[in-house]
């Protein structure tokens, strides 16, 4: 089942399928566009398709998510985490 990271239960893991920023996907997608930087920043931190992530916890007040990826611990703002889709087995 494919879900945004924010829908994972605490402690649940999944494999990243895509990072969806902006509507138009596919060819020449958003080069230099506003979402492009975000996607690349996420990738630079190791959140690339095919990577295994674990949602550790989320902060209240619509706060960020703590995720474990590639042996490190990241805090991801909720707005970003909503755009990272993962495949989970439920």
């Amino acid at each position: 089942m494919e879900l945004p990271l924010t829908e994972l239960r605490d402690g649940e893991s999944g494999t990243i399928t895509s990072v969806r920023i902006g509507q138009d996907r596919g060819r020449g997608h958003g080069r230099g566009g506003r979402g492009w930087g975000l996607e690349r920043r996420l990738a630079d931190m190791g959140l690339t398709p095919g990577t295994r992530v674990t949602a550790a916890r989320s902060a209240p007040l619509h706060g960020p998510l703590e995720v474990l990826v590639r042996g490190t611990r990241l805090a991801l703002g909720r707005g970003v985490a909503e755009r990272v889709f993962v495949e989970v087995e439920r």
Partner: protein, 647 residues
């Protein structure tokens, strides 16, 4: 390059012990400035080793060499354009995969480099053992194991560096291959650019072009626009094959390579459990316990800072006041004597007794918290709230600093990524009541009307910050950056590094603020000596008396407060000829005065800090805005509060 002089750049992720190594190497022989034209810190230092004079540049802690933060841009330009003799890539042995991802980009830049495999002890606690000879042979560069906090391996690092300078050790990294589809296209690009005068290495340029790096596209298109259009075509092919943006494809492959190398060189056994570190992390980020803990930490920090500051401030004040007689005997009691003592010396004394006793412990504690890892947890907890004013969690740190002094808070805004958010954060921090304004709030409203009124003013200030922050956020064009932040494991802070950071921070503060405080102090004294204070009070009376309903002498204190807010109250006492303010000011007037004092202008040192960070136009705008805002607010309060029963 002159003989026997070496330039070494330290590069690596944040929190890998880079600054510990830097401090170990350079000790107090360092200089912290800014990169030309950028609000990014540049730390440089010098040391002597085996007949070499070695300049060390500490590059900012970054995760990639793309262009999404100024830090990344500055770093890659430095390496490519200034071409240091050597880059020491500091790598956290306990998070090898992520760190090697950055290493691979340095390799692509084809700069001579060595790896400092740091925090080996931490890695071993996590059950990670690294075969560093194997890592050496895979990357083709020397790898030195270090435990920087104990100084282990630092000597070997320098020896290796000198070995490279003398040509005994080879430090040219060997190529790292991507998957065939990507690699083929990289080669094609390199072939096209064979003789082009490129800023970066051909391989790095090729890879960046395939990732759609706008800055590099611009540069290459000036040399050969055909290359860029070919890159565009190849990029589309890659996107067609993989179904993801090509930058993601390449980044993903690079991480794949990093992961493969990591698993080849490291042996992971069951970690010796670190229950304490884990428990500490869980409790401090807990959705229920996290906030009370944070509140307790912040309050105890303020309590420590203010009680220590008060004590030290008092002692220093007594010490200095004993000098007055000496001064008067030297300069006489005339105009010159007044200017020397009341102007210059009082300025210095104010700086030393008011600013330093509070700022020094504030910095010290803050750096301890940062080094231990707690600040990133605070940012995690505060992110949701900070987002409402268009900032992310990290911006909470300069805001907190602002309660000590707005100057370091302003400089601390460099912690956020974009210029827009730096400005937003800078503006917010000037609205935070600093120690000097706290003196007024507590000394007037708190002392004569009760602490509940003082607290109400603090709460009101938070509301104003929130409201103005939100307006500024909506008014400034652009999108807010999302929080993407690594939370390192908790660790015991390295006291020596923390102490050094505090010292350099203080030095920066002294250099910037002291001259202004002294000049300001002399200027005010001069006005006093020339009997200009009263006319100024009269000129301002339409605002102070008619609009704000305050005594005319207040105008003078407002002028004075631009320079030194903490003395507004003392000044007021002198002008009103009493310390018992209840006899001369109604409660309503106290509140109005305090409100105006809280908001009406950043002090002159803060204006200087704003100018340094954002340019004089923006500094001027913020200043003018805050004066207008405070006056309007004060006038409204003067008319509105009586309705609510305050007279």
């Amino acid at each position: 390059m002159t003989d026997n002089r070496l330039t070494i750049a330290l590069a690596g992720n944040a929190n890998v012990g880079k600054s510990v190594i830097f401090n170990y190497l350079t000790g107090l022989h360092q200089h912290i400035g800014n990169w030309p034209g950028k609000t990014v810190e540049k730390a440089e230092g010098t040391l002597h080793f085996k007949g070499y004079t070695i300049d060390i540049i500490d590059l900012p802690g970054i995760y990639s060499l793309s262009t999404f933060s100024i830090e990344e841009l500055v770093s890659r330009e430095y390496i490519a354009v200034e071409r240091p003799d050597l880059v020491i890539n500091v790598v956290d042995a306990s998070a090898l995969e992520r760190n090697l991802f950055f290493t691979l980009q340095l390799v692509e830049l084809e700069t001579p480099m060595i790896i400092a495999l740091n925090q080996k002890d931490m890695a071993e606690k996590k059950g990670i053992r690294i075969d560093h000879e194997k890592l050496e042979s895979i990357l083709g560069i020397p790898v030195v194991s270090t435990v920087a906090i104990k100084g282990v391996g630092v000597y070997e690092l320098l020896e290796t560096a000198v070995g490279i300078a003398e040509g005994d050790v080879d430090a040219k990294p060997s190529g790292v291959r991507y998957g065939d589809e990507v690699e083929m296209r990289i080669r094609k690009m390199i072939d096209m650019m064979r003789d082009a005068p490129l800023k970066y290495s051909p391989r790095y340029t090729a890879i960046q072009l395939l990732q759609g790096d706008e800055e590099i596209e611009k540069e290459v298109s000036m040399i050969n626009p055909e290359v860029v259009s070919t890159a565009g075509r190849l990029t589309e092919e890659l996107e067609e094959i993989h179904g993801h943006p090509s930058s993601t494809v390449i980044t993903s492959e690079r991480y794949g390579i990093a992961g493969r190398i990591a698993s080849e060189v490291q042996k992971v056994t069951t970690p010796t459990k670190q229950p304490l570190i884990e428990t500490l992390h869980n409790i401090t980020t807990d959705r229920f316990f996290g906030y009370p803990i944070m509140l307790a930490v912040v309050l105890s920090m303020f309590f420590t800072v203010f009680s220590f500051g008060d004590l030290l401030s008092g002692l220093l004040g007594d010490f200095f006041s004993s000098w007055q007689a000496i001064f008067e005997s030297v300069f006489g009691a005339g105009v010159v004597g007044e200017l020397m003592w009341g102007g210059v010396m009082e300025g210095i004394i104010a700086g030393v007794t008011i600013a330093l006793p509070y700022i020094a412990p504030f910095y010290l504690i803050l750096y301890l918290l940062e080094d231990s890892g707690y600040l990133s947890r605070m940012a995690f907890l505060m992110d949701g709230l900070m987002h409402k004013i268009g900032l992310h969690g990290k911006a909470f740190i300069p805001v907190m600093l602002g309660y000590g002094c707005n100057v370091p808070a302003c400089l601390g805004c460099r912690i956020v990524e974009t210029e827009r958010e730096r400005l937003l954060a800078g503006f917010i921090t000037t609205l935070v009541p600093c120690a000097a304004r706290t003196v007024i709030i507590l000394g007037l409203v708190g002392a004569f009307m009760g602490i509940q009124w003082a607290l109400a003013l603090y709460v009101f200030d938070l509301l104003v910050i929130f409201a103005l922050g939100r307006i500024a956020f909506k008014a400034l064009p652009g999108e807010p950056t999302a929080l993407i932040m690594e939370m390192n494991d908790y660790r015991v802070p390295h006291v020596k590094t923390v102490a050094q950071q505090t010292w350099f921070r203080l030095e920066e503060f002294i250099k910037m603020a002291f001259p202004l405080i002294i000049v300001g102090s002399v200027a005010v004294k001069l006005l006093e000596v020339l009997n200009l204070l009263e006319p100024i009070g009269r000129i301002l009376s339409p605002v102070t008396v008619a609009w704000l309903g305050l005594p005319a002498v207040i105008g003078v204190t407002l002028i004075f407060g631009v320079l030194r807010k903490e003395l507004m109250l003392t000044m007021l006492a002198t002008l009103l000829e009493t310390r018992d303010f209840t006899t001369v000011l109604a409660p309503l007037q106290m509140v109005v005065f305090t409100l105006v004092a809280m908001f009406y202008i950043p002090c002159v040192a803060t204006i200087a800090a704003l100018t340094k960070e954002f340019g004089w136009r923006k500094a001027l705008f913020i200043t003018v805005f805050e004066i207008a805002f405070a006056i309007v607010l004060g006038g409204v309060a003067f008319r509105l509060l009586p309705v609510l029963g305050l007279h």
